[in-house]
């Protein structure tokens, strides 16, 4: 299954080759041409069937947040730095895979017995942690993992049960609430767990979208280095000069229980997320109107991402050259940028339907 293969591939920012190879294989029979640019973006063209002179860019980023090896110590442990936004609290004791060879290791730190009170109260910084690959010394460690090799969380993709628990032993009230929630299917929600749903979910959506042909030319950009500064997208948009852009993402759903009545940024099971504005850009109102009205008319479950949070490739794309009207559609996932995210496949499917139906209607939003 494509989403699974993409999720398990190692594609930390700057080393997206493995992800690109999977995608190239998947899409090459569906598109009229494709190329890899100087930064490593995979850019494919699906020519329009006619009827619209528009050129529409649809983007998803191939890279994930992770770690990079900075060197080995005499003791045989490996030092590392973070690549992209990683909360250091998720690091201690994580299992990881290093490099193309997927060398297994674990992120270690001083055992709790040896921590003094100050250390116990503080979150360790990345430079205080290390990766242990079981090497007895520096030479052996360097054979297993060289400086510059990238590291991902060792998370296998799997399907989970309903988030409220299953069967008679579960909390009945929570179960009822989950079952009656907006996205819950008759048999319970279809939750999947894996790493890098941000943004392999977007990549999977974009690859599937390319089986369709639209009235306008569609340029699909699987971008690099989004997590370290939206860098690939800027270059791709510059080269491809689109008239409009749709970014397909995976966005955080922070539904943690809270005493305060504050909304989560998005919710699992409430449908595809539409961005009105985030920290990196303000979505073009015509595109928001287009996708919102399409969702309403076609009964596609949808929600609005809480404004002002986060950034996506649209932040770079919209200000390239003379500007590009842009929007971001996303699949919500809990615990993004951490070892194991949770996504509801019904939201994923809602995103697939909305992007396809919305793009069909897009020429109406940008007439002439």
């Amino acid at each position: 299954m494509l989403l699974q293969r993409l999720s398990e591939a190692n594609g930390v920012s700057g080393r997206e080759e493995a992800v690109r190879a999977i995608l190239l294989e998947e899409i090459r029979g569906r598109v009229d041409s494709c190329r890899v640019d100087r930064m490593g973006n995979l850019i494919a063209l699906k020519k329009g069937s006619g009827g619209s002179a528009l050129r529409v860019l649809v983007a998803a980023h191939m890279d994930e947040v992770g770690l990079v090896i900075t060197g080995a110590e005499d003791s045989g442990v490996l030092r590392f730095a973070t690549v992209g936004g990683i909360d250091e609290r998720v690091l201690p004791a994580r299992m990881v895979w290093i490099g193309e060879r997927r060398v297994p290791g674990v992120i270690g730190m001083k055992p709790v017995h040896l921590l003094d009170k100050g250390e116990r109260d503080r979150v360790p910084e990345a430079r205080q942690l290390y990766i242990d690959v079981g090497a007895s010394g520096k030479a052996e460690a360097e054979k297993l993992a060289g400086k510059g090799e990238t590291v991902v969380f060792a998370t296998e993709y799997r399907t989970l049960g309903s988030p409220a628990g299953t069967g008679a032993g579960g909390d009945a009230a929570a179960g009822a609430a989950a079952a009656s929630g907006p996205g819950a299917a008759a048999g319970g929600a279809r939750i999947v767990q894996g790493k890098a749903f941000d943004d392999r979910a977007g990549c999977a959506l974009l690859a599937a979208l390319l089986t369709e042909r639209f009235p306008f030319d569609l340029v699909a950009a699987f971008t690099v280095q989004e997590e370290v500064g939206l860098r690939g997208a800027q270059v791709a948009a510059w080269a491809e000069k689109p008239d409009a852009a749709v970014v397909l993402e995976c966005t955080g759903a922070n539904e943690v229980p809270s005493r305060r009545d504050l909304s989560p940024s998005t919710r699992l099971g409430a449908g595809v997320s539409i961005t009105i504005r985030d920290a990196s850009f303000i979505a073009d109102p015509r595109l928001v109107q287009l996708f919102a009205s399409t969702a309403r008319e076609k009964n596609i479950p949808h929600q609005y991402k809480q404004p002002n949070i986060g950034g996506t490739d649209a932040g770079a794309i919209h200000r390239v050259r003379e500007g590009v009207p842009s929007i971001t559609l996303a699949v919500p996932a809990r615990y993004i940028h951490s070892p194991a995210a949770l996504m509801d496949l019904s939201d994923f499917e809602a995103a697939a339907v909305l992007v396809r139906e919305g793009l069909e209607r897009l020429p109406r939003a940008f007439p002439g």
Partner: protein
């Protein structure tokens, strides 16, 4: 010009929602200038050299023969104002919000905000009051997430606003004689100056683009793309700057009433030496008092235009303003008129930039 300033400041136009401001400006454009809207919503107003009407495309005639050739000059003032965006409506109908642009906590307290309304200028929409949770430490400024808006609702069902809706400060324009007070002087005063320049400017050898940009307050996002499209040879922003003339304020050499300020440096840009000198020498030969400005924090659209494409000699003519980014920004009417006069004079003549 005061009526124009009043109308502009009373428009609804937080970043991303500049349409009402744009329409008002469009109606004020005098004959001989042509307008179009770019991809992100900025309004580009053009007049070819001569001053006989702006036909022609982007490159409407630069150069020419002789040393006194006209230049393609871009001026930019931003249409957007700061505001707030609804992030959540709670179970009791109270509204949580985030900032649109550089909103500070202190000016919010007890203030009112207004959401988009049915009037042509965007006013007449629902209004609310800014409230604050209890504070444990009265000596510290509370974080933004401790504030909320009270729309007079008691549940999400009767709350007139939704997540994503934006509001601006709700405060009326006041004419104090020499001094004018309103919300959104930043940068409707710049927009007013550009419109007045259009009205007063006779023939000019220069190819002129007067641009009313979008989304300056959220990161100069409209200016760079507008500048890219125009490819000016010289660019000037017209925006507010702070002053150093109120009680116990941070030191700054700019005061209300001492004329428009020629920007030397701000938080994002070093003004081009030739552009600065052009403005200073114009002020001198036209006997217009002006000030020299260094702004420590804050910047303008010129910063984005300066680094567009292969770079543009850029500067800024500033309107001094007190209480910036509050609902009551104050400018001096004489400074505003001085800015118009200086720009009309500068644009009327050929420009030779040094350095």
């Amino acid at each position: 010009m005061k009526d124009l300033i009043r109308s502009l400041t009373e428009c609804f136009g937080p970043s991303g929602h500049e349409a009402a401001v744009r329409e008002l400006i469009r109606r004020e454009i005098p004959r001989g200038w042509e307008a179009r809207v770019d991809a992100l919503g900025s309004l580009l107003v053009h007049r070819a050299p001569g001053g006989t009407g702006g036909a022609g495309g982007r490159h409407g005639g630069t150069g020419g023969t002789g040393a006194a050739a006209g230049r393609r000059i871009m001026l930019a003032a931003h249409m957007d104002e700061i505001g707030v965006v609804v992030t959540h409506v709670d179970q009791k109908g109270f509204v949580r919000f985030g900032s649109v642009g550089g909103v500070m906590q202190l000016p919010l307290l007890g203030g009112r905000v207004q959401f988009a309304g049915p009037e042509p200028n965007g006013s007449g929409g629902p209004t609310g009051v800014i409230g604050l949770e209890k504070v444990d430490d009265a000596s510290r400024v509370p974080a933004m997430d401790k504030f909320y808006i009270d729309m007079g609702a008691s549940s999400p069902g009767d709350c007139p606003v939704n997540v994503g809706d934006v509001a601006c400060f709700h405060r009326s324009f006041e004419d104090l004689g020499n001094r004018l007070v309103a919300k959104a002087m930043d940068d409707r005063i710049g927009c007013a100056v550009l419109l007045q320049v259009m009205k007063e400017l006779d023939a000019s050898p220069n190819d002129l683009w007067l641009v009313f940009t979008v989304q300056e307050e959220v990161g100069l996002r409209g200016a760079g793309p507008s500048g890219f499209g125009i490819e000016p040879e010289i660019a000037l922003s017209v925006d507010v700057t702070l002053t150093g003339d109120t009680p116990e304020c941070a030191p700054m050499a700019v005061s209300l009433g001492a004329g428009p300020a020629v920007k030397i440096k701000d938080g994002g840009m070093l003004a081009h030496a030739g552009v600065k000198d052009w403005l200073f020498s114009t002020a001198q030969s036209a006997s217009i008092p002006c000030q020299r400005e260094v702004l420590v924090r804050g910047t303008t659209d010129a910063t984005a235009i300066q680094v567009s494409r292969a770079g543009v000699p850029a500067g800024c003519l500033s309107i001094p303003s007190r209480y910036t980014h509050s609902p009551s920004e104050m400018v001096d009417y004489g400074d505003v008129q001085g800015a118009v006069k200086l720009l009309v004079r500068a644009l009327s003549e050929p420009v030779e930039l040094h350095g």
